[in-house]
Point group: C2
Chain length 117, copies 2
């Protein structure tokens, strides 16, 4: 569950939470480098157990950053750029908004200083 399209806010939230963990970022790096990989394979170079990797992959999948598909007895995971793209856009827009507000505040402050002298 928790797989139906959520609101943009929840989507961004889940992506940020997913990316906040260094092990998960490392996992994403490995996946991006290999294209496709199983949880067992991914766990090998990492200092954690396969089960830990499985849990991380579940978090990443909930965030829409990866997806897994069963092939025979193994599950192959791959990276999903869409969610990351969306979050990157959200962050860029937020940064622009801050810049805009700060410029505005600066402008108001200067105007006030002009008036006071």
């Amino acid at each position: 569950m928790t797989d139906e399209p959520r609101g943009a806010a929840e989507a961004v939230d889940s992506v940020l939470v997913a990316l906040a963990d260094p092990t998960r970022r490392q996992l994403l790096d490995l996946l991006a480098a290999q294209g496709e990989a199983t949880a067992t394979t991914l766990a090998e170079p990492l200092p954690v157990s396969r089960q830990a990797v499985v849990k991380h992959l579940a978090v990443l999948a909930t965030a829409g950053l990866v997806s897994g598909s069963r092939v025979g007895r193994e599950v192959r995971y791959a990276v999903r750029p869409a969610a990351l793209n969306a979050t990157a856009r959200w962050m860029t827009a937020l940064a622009a908004d801050w810049d805009r507000r700060l410029a505005n505040i600066k402008r108001v402050a200067e105007a006030a200083q002009r008036d006071s002298r």
Copy 2:
């Protein structure tokens, strides 16, 4: 401490960790809207104590997302767009890298299919 310029990796990490918490994002929204505010003021509309807000602001400050300056007996915090901008760029670049890799894999797969028939 922890205020000297760190590596890009740690900077991104701290920003992501900071943004992963919804209360901190709300705090950033409030700060961006008001331009400047104290911890006490920021805590009022929020469902948490002033101390909780202070801790969140400390996390945000470590990430470089806000900065506080003492004015008399109060400490005024303001938003700092630079760290957010840097992280947004990092994320955009990462998304582009994923897209590039996926396109590459797709190309290789198609070439292999052509060869096999």
